[in-house]
């Protein structure tokens, strides 16, 4: 691609956290400036609007609770995705894996006779395994047949959603749901405890943070982590070093999908306390998590921060709707804008862009 001569673009030697942070930050600010136009359009001062959004999402109990509630699934899915991405597997399927996790948990909650104490643990395990197996499918397809991971995982999201739709409208529809497409409410022994007065199912939150920390150590300090990094950075070298790319990808995807599955358990057993239409169960967390993980530069620990950021953005949507009384669709517009500015800023991370004055 031809470039004007006055513009010099050089690859950065190393990417310092400082660069990442400052560039991302600048991008978000720029995005907010651009989005400000819409607020102006609706006669709301952008400054006031953003003030309200931040205070609304972080400044009070309700807002904070909402932010954290959104953060939980993003965190779990995001951490999982960083691992898949580390192994160079483009897992776009977190959404589907989340749904399958929710289905598995619901199945255990509603139809498996278990002693009360075992039910929740069983649901978490089932959710992890369910999501993990669903993720193994594209992993196998890639390893055995070289099927493009982006596409296969994306397609599987829809298949998962249709299966779920089928279950709640057919075999699993709850007698007490009065004909609506819901399962019955989970029994109390199958419901995740919440922090009183908030929708925060804390167990899942803790799981998320722990997962982030463990994942970080796993990737950075363990033998298997070493293998994952080698495979992700240079598959040929991995082959040469006798590391089985297949095994690494399968393990990474099992964990990646498993964590997404846990997020599904959280939404089903923590928020809705039953299984319902896929679009209602997950507010596209699996997709947002892609951005979360990608923004965290595939670092599981950083996901804690980025997922929180998007938690704020999503919760900020409520402020736009409730406090400012603006059309809810603006939320999508903002997310879209912020995303574009973030990906636009990528180039400043990968390349040092400078203007050169050439004497003629």
């Amino acid at each position: 691609m031809t470039r004007p001569n006055w513009l010099r673009i050089e690859r950065r030697e190393a990417l310092t956290p400082w660069v990442v942070f400052s560039v991302s930050f600048a991008a978000i600010v720029a995005a907010l400036l651009a989005a400000g136009i819409f607020f102006k359009g609706y006669g709301v001062s952008p400054v006031r609007a953003y003030g309200l959004i931040v205070s609304g999402a972080l400044g009070n109990k309700v807002g904070l609770a909402e932010t954290v509630r959104r953060t939980i699934p993003l965190l779990l899915c995001g951490v999982g995705l960083t691992i898949a991405f580390r192994a160079l597997f483009w897992n776009i399927g977190a959404e589907g894996q989340l749904l399958v996790g929710a289905m598995a948990a619901a199945g255990v909650a509603l139809f498996v006779p278990l002693p009360e104490v075992l039910r929740l643990p069983a649901m978490l395990v089932a959710g992890f395994i369910g999501g993990g197996l669903w993720a193994l499918l594209p992993a196998f397809l890639k390893v055995k047949l070289g099927v493009n991971d982006v596409i296969s995982t994306l397609m599987l999201n829809y298949i998962a959603a249709f299966v779920m739709q089928y279950l709640i409208q057919g075999p699993w529809k709850g007698p007490t749901a009065r004909g609506f497409a819901y399962t019955d409410k989970f029994p109390s022994s199958a419901i995740l405890a919440r922090i009183p007065g908030t929708p925060i199912h804390w167990l899942t939150l803790i799981l998320g943070v722990v997962a982030a920390v463990i994942a970080f150590i796993w990737v950075a300090r363990t033998r298997q982590g070493f293998e994952i990094r080698v495979v992700g950075e240079n598959p040929d070298a991995a082959r040469y070093a006798g590391i089985s790319q297949a095994k690494v990808i399968l393990v990474a995807m099992l964990v990646s999908g498993g964590l997404a599955g846990l997020a599904g358990v959280g939404e089903a057993a923590g928020i809705h306390r039953m299984l319902l239409a896929p679009v209602k169960l997950s507010a596209g967390y699996g997709y947002t998590a892609i951005i979360v993980a990608w923004l965290a530069r595939r670092n599981p620990l950083a996901v804690i921060v980025t997922s929180l950021l998007f938690g704020v953005i999503m919760a900020g949507g409520d402020v736009i709707k409730v406090t400012l009384g603006l059309p809810f669709q603006l939320v999508n517009v903002f997310n879209g804008l912020i995303l574009f500015f973030l990906i636009g800023s990528e180039i400043f991370m990968r390349y040092k862009v400078s203007i050169v004055w050439r004497r003629s």
Binding site: R221, N234, A237, G242
Partner: protein, 519 residues
């Protein structure tokens, strides 16, 4: 320093191309540092220099792939700004890259017309095009089927397509970047034949190489580059290999390392009737058999793509053998995985040290334990032992003179020589009994080359059996105790180094069996 002025000039030939004070910087290096170049119309002009001397960069600038940071280009007396390959082609400059630029899924004909704007609007004049391609092919001995898909062609044929592409765009200046590295001596001859006919038809050819013989054989004049600077431009007729070599490396080269001849021990590796397929599933090895002894270097000569690569992969567990066996210490390697073979103490210096041998984005320390990271030495339970890895790195860097700021530097930032030292340091630790070394010195400067060759000889003297795969015949001749020649996956013959003769080996590389070449 031979100067342009006192090179005796016969008739004054106008300069087809001049490059003045070309400067090109990359992060960390100055690839071209004020290069001046003058190419006369109708000559074959060699650009000689070691890998990394800046030849290719200079030509990429001329072809518009890079923009110089400074300097100017003058074509036929007119200053020219070449901002893109399109511009270069407009100036009738064509280039045949070392790694071919062909779209595998397109047909030969489609590849040739790609990027051209003949015919009316978007429509192609397939028939006319085809006719012209066949005419050119006829004229210059570049036969190839215009309808064939490129991925179905052999390497030699693909190079023909590349040349046809340039000719089809009636290039007046043709840049050839190391064109012979993939050809048999015979193919090389026919290529040189083609080049001469082209020059007779008035083309100007710039020929990039680092092989002195080729320079002497084909060129009219030579410009020698060293570390991004022009050291001399001389008439080939008035120079010698020795002088060129001196200009090229900046000092006299010792063309022979001293090699203690001694008795080989017993057989380390016994390969018999080995078969394997290449990535396209076509047979690449057809019944290869040979023995390798302790304290022996067995050189494998052959034009690239005749099975050497597959052989090295089969012996290191990276490729499944379809038939036959390779017995190492009473164990058949063909059944083993790469990991098992590595654990048996087999060292592998891979062809592509950067793309395969190391992980550029990971640290020197981590690259040094790329294979041994599982050993109790470097890991407790599941966790890696950073301390141990660090200690290991420090020692290795000292022992093999790997120059890097510290053991945390990512391998990608090291020079070629240091990367190869890194690979050797990793592979040779624990003195392996069997070493597969593929192109160990390819693209390295003379200093590194000598050091690495010496390391291999030391290993041999310590009793290791070494399979040396190289396209550099000089290297093979220098290091090997015996030389095995592969052609299309078959062994053409094995010769001991003292009875070896480069012409006969060349013939064997071209597919004649040893008995035929009368040895």
């Amino acid at each position: 320093m031979v100067d342009q002025a006192d090179a005796p000039v016969g008739v004054e030939v106008p300069a087809a191309l001049e490059m003045h004070g070309i400067v090109k910087r990359f992060p960390g290096v100055v690839a071209n540092d004020g290069v001046d170049l003058e190419i006369r119309k109708g000559e074959i002009h060699c650009l000689l220099g070691e890998n990394g001397a800046g030849k290719t960069t200079l030509m990429r600038i001329l072809y518009g792939l890079y923009q110089p940071d400074d300097g100017e280009i003058v074509l036929h007396g007119e200053p020219a700004r070449i901002t893109s390959p399109k511009a270069a082609l407009a100036h009738r400059i064509g280039m045949v890259h070392q790694h071919f630029h062909l779209v595998a899924t397109l047909s030969v004909q489609e590849n040739i017309v790609l990027g051209l704007s003949e015919g009316t609007g978007p429509f192609l004049r397939s028939r006319a095009t085809r006719a012209r391609i066949e005419r050119l092919a006829e004229e210059y001995g570049l036969q190839v089927d215009p309808a064939a898909k490129v991925w179905q062609l052999s390497v030699g044929q693909q190079q023909r397509v590349e040349i046809l592409k340039a000719l089809y765009r009636d290039a007046h200046i043709l840049i050839m970047d190391e064109p012979t590295s993939v050809l048999t001596p015979q193919e090389v001859d026919s290529l040189f034949g083609t080049l001469r006919t082209l020059v007779d038809d008035g083309l100007t050819i710039i020929f990039i190489t680092h092989k002195l013989d080729e320079v002497m054989e084909v060129s009219d004049r030579v410009t020698v580059l060293q570390k991004g600077k022009v050291v001399a431009t001389v008439n080939t007729a008035e120079t010698s290999k020795a002088e060129l070599a001196r200009l090229m490396v900046g000092r006299e080269v010792v063309f022979r390392l001293e090699k203690r001849t001694h008795e080989h021990g017993e057989v380390v590796l016994e390969v018999s009737d080995l078969h394997a397929s290449n990535d396209r599933g076509l047979p690449a090895l057809r019944g290869v058999s040979f023995d390798l002894h302790e304290s022996e270097i067995l050189g494998v000569a052959g034009v690239s793509g005749n099975g050497q690569h597959e052989l090295s992969e089969v012996l290191t567990g990276l490729r499944r053998a379809t038939k036959g066996s390779a017995i190492l210490e009473a164990k058949d390697l063909t059944g083993c995985s790469a990991r098992e073979i590595a654990d048996m103490g087999v060292a592998h210096v891979p062809t592509e040290r950067i793309r395969v041998g190391t992980v550029s984005s990971m640290s020197v320390r981590e690259n040094l334990i790329l294979k041994s990271y599982r050993s109790p030495e470097y890991s407790r339970w599941m966790l890696l032992d950073e301390k141990a890895a660090q200690r290991n790195a420090r020692e290795a860097m000292r022992e093999y003179e790997i120059s890097a700021p510290h053991d945390g530097t990512s391998a990608g930032n090291l020079s070629g020589g240091n990367i190869q030292r890194l690979v050797l340091a990793r592979e040779l630790c624990g003195s392996p009994r069997f070493i597969v070394a593929a192109h160990p010195t390819y693209g390295l400067d003379v200093g590194a080359t000598e050091q690495i060759r010496q390391v291999l000889l030391d290993q041999r003297d310590n009793g290791a059996g070494i399979l040396l795969i190289s396209e550099d015949l000089d290297e093979i001749m220098q290091l090997s105790d015996r030389i095995l020649v592969l052609y299309e996956g078959e062994v053409m013959g094995t010769v001991t180094c003292d009875e070896a003769n480069i012409d006969e080996i060349g013939l064997m590389m071209a597919g004649s069996r040893r008995e035929e070449v009368g040895l």
